[in-house]
Amino acid sequence: MSGDSTVPALECRDVVKQFRRGRGFKKKVIRAVDGATLTLYPGELFGLLGPNGAGKTTLVRCIATLLIPDAGTIRVLGHDVFKDALFCRQQIGLLTSGERTLYWKLSARDNLKFFAALYGLTGKERDKRIEYLLGLLGLQEVANERLERYSSGMKQKVSLARAMLHDPKLLLLDEPTLGLDPQFGRFIRGFIKEELNKKQGKTILLTTHYMDEADELCARIAFINQGRIVDIKSPEEYKRDIPHKEILKVRCLGQFDGELLKGVSGIERVSAEFNDGVTTLNIVAERAEMVLSEVIEAVRARTRILGVDVQEPTLEDVFIYMTGTSLGADTKEEHETQYQD
């Protein structure tokens, strides 16, 4: 069954995961995943994009059998992950964010040897596989050094090697570039796209809250917000389907919000981001040039303009348009409901 290319690599149907938090009257139910449905086809690089606390990691943990969902079904290569956990675990390679997921007191080689044993790899087959992966990720020279001496990026490379040890068909990569410096982030992104997806044909579920990463890597993206899958499309389709074509970005001194542009006609939506004493106004309009002069006039009346730019909508703009939430937001507490026993 697993060899059949028409069988989806991953199928999630109406997955619900709730957490009970607090005690007594303060007891609450947090609906972390709320009826998530998605299908990944063999060889696909699929993105799950959403802000922190949107439910991405919870869904990945359900797929990896680390969490038991309250409702719904999850199938890997046609097998139910809970009824046939052993088969599914053998098909899944997992990488979670954070550098503390390995034994720092052991070398990269010893870490990989240990995890290889958990996946039933032994002897020459194991050693060959480990050497291949160490070479592929450029870790051969430091393979016998303890991980505590590695940088975050190098540890993430070892994590990636561990996820691939047993040559899994499905890779679950949860925020693989989180906290990495740009150089390692670029390497990891390139490795995922070129080596894992294109060359090795792995099916990959990538979760991220970096829209550039999802845009660059993924053939299809699911927007997830407050535990719900909002939509699934290709990055191009998302951008094409947004009814606005241009985003006018105005950077100005001081802290302001959309109220600043009240009264300017032709504007469909304004969002403001404040950082280091500078506000960036993201103005969505059908055509930027039609509102440009009025916007400049309104802003200049209150403060100094530092820069003006007209951009095509990014995935972030699409996400904000569709959900009203920025990808940088933390929505952890937003989908809580009072618990009634």
Binding site: T65, T96, Y103, A117, L118
Partner: protein, 277 residues
């Protein structure tokens, strides 16, 4: 889909090797464990001398059959070190895995966490065996206790049966560790329950309550038999009865431990607390 016994054994071996490598990555621990057997014996010696005014006691002989209080206590301490190390080791090691962030990767692998626990228990036993061997040498050299092959073989059989039963207990305990996350308080409580209700430091027949409750604890049966063999030279003393009782207790503890662990591991996956510490 099933995995072969060979693959499970290799996973146990890998866990054992990993645990020992991590221990040895802290050199100061080796120094500590090297002097531990000597440090361990001193308080018992001084306490014993203060209480009975020498190495032997007549009233103690009336209770236990042997007047050698020190040897009595040291054998109790030696065997209890062995079994408690399994509790400490297994409980702590799962907590360490959650600290290291590796617990989720173990649970997400096709290897059952019980296989990992067996590996951890074996590593603990290997280490404890070295310690107990040192302790036995000290007891033999300084307290006149003779360890002949005729004594050691039945004692080893009893110790193995005792450890099997305690590993059932430790497995259940590991499940609780996954759930409650804290181990120190619980292990200490359990230790003191065992100290109170089994003849580790004193003969439990000094009062009827401890005498009755102690019969439910495998450590009691094992210690009584081991002391009879070593101190009283009674090789035939209740050995068959003790072995039978320990076997029954082993089965009960292992089965209960297994089902409790499976239930608690599933509960933590339902609650979403596998990786928490």
């Amino acid at each position: 889909m099933r995995r072969s016994i060979r693959i499970e054994l290799l996973a146990i071996l890998a866990e054992c090797r990993k645990t020992i490598r991590i221990w040895f990555s802290y050199p100061i621990m080796i120094v500590f464990w090297a002097i531990f057997p000597l440090l361990w014996v001193m308080p018992y010696v001084f306490q014993g001398r203060a209480l009975v005014g020498g190495a032997t006691s007549e009233s103690f002989r009336q209770l236990t059959g042997s007047g050698n209080y020190l040897a009595f206590v040291l054998i109790g301490a030696m065997i209890s070190t062995f079994v408690f190390s399994a509790l400490w080791g297994v409980g702590n090691s799962l907590r360490e895995e959650t600290y290291w962030g590796t617990m989720e990767y173990i649970i997400a692998s096709p290897t059952h966490p019980l296989v990992i626990l067996i590996g951890k228990t074996l590593a603990e036993w290997a280490w404890s065996s070295v310690m107990v061997l040192f302790q036995a040498v000290i007891i033999a050299l300084f307290f006149g206790v003779q360890f002949t092959l005729a004594k050691v073989l039945p004692v080893l059989l009893i110790v193995v049966l005792l450890l099997v039963g305690f590993s059932g207990f430790a497995i259940a305990f590991a499940g609780f560790t996954l759930l409650i996350k804290e181990v120190h308080g619980w292990v200490h409580t359990l230790e003191w329950i065992f100290f109170l209700f089994s003849p580790i430091r004193y003969p439990v027949q000094v009062n009827p309550v401890t005498a009755v409750i102690s019969t439910l604890i495998p450590l009691t049966w094992a210690l009584v038999a081991i002391r009879s063999i070593i101190l009283l030279n009674k090789a035939e003393v209740n050995l068959y009865q003790t072995v039978l009782i320990l076997l029954v207790m082993d089965v009960v503890l292992l089965v209960t431990g297994y089902f409790l662990f499976v239930y608690l591991e599933k509960k933590t996956r339902r609650d979403g607390t596998v990786g928490m510490h």
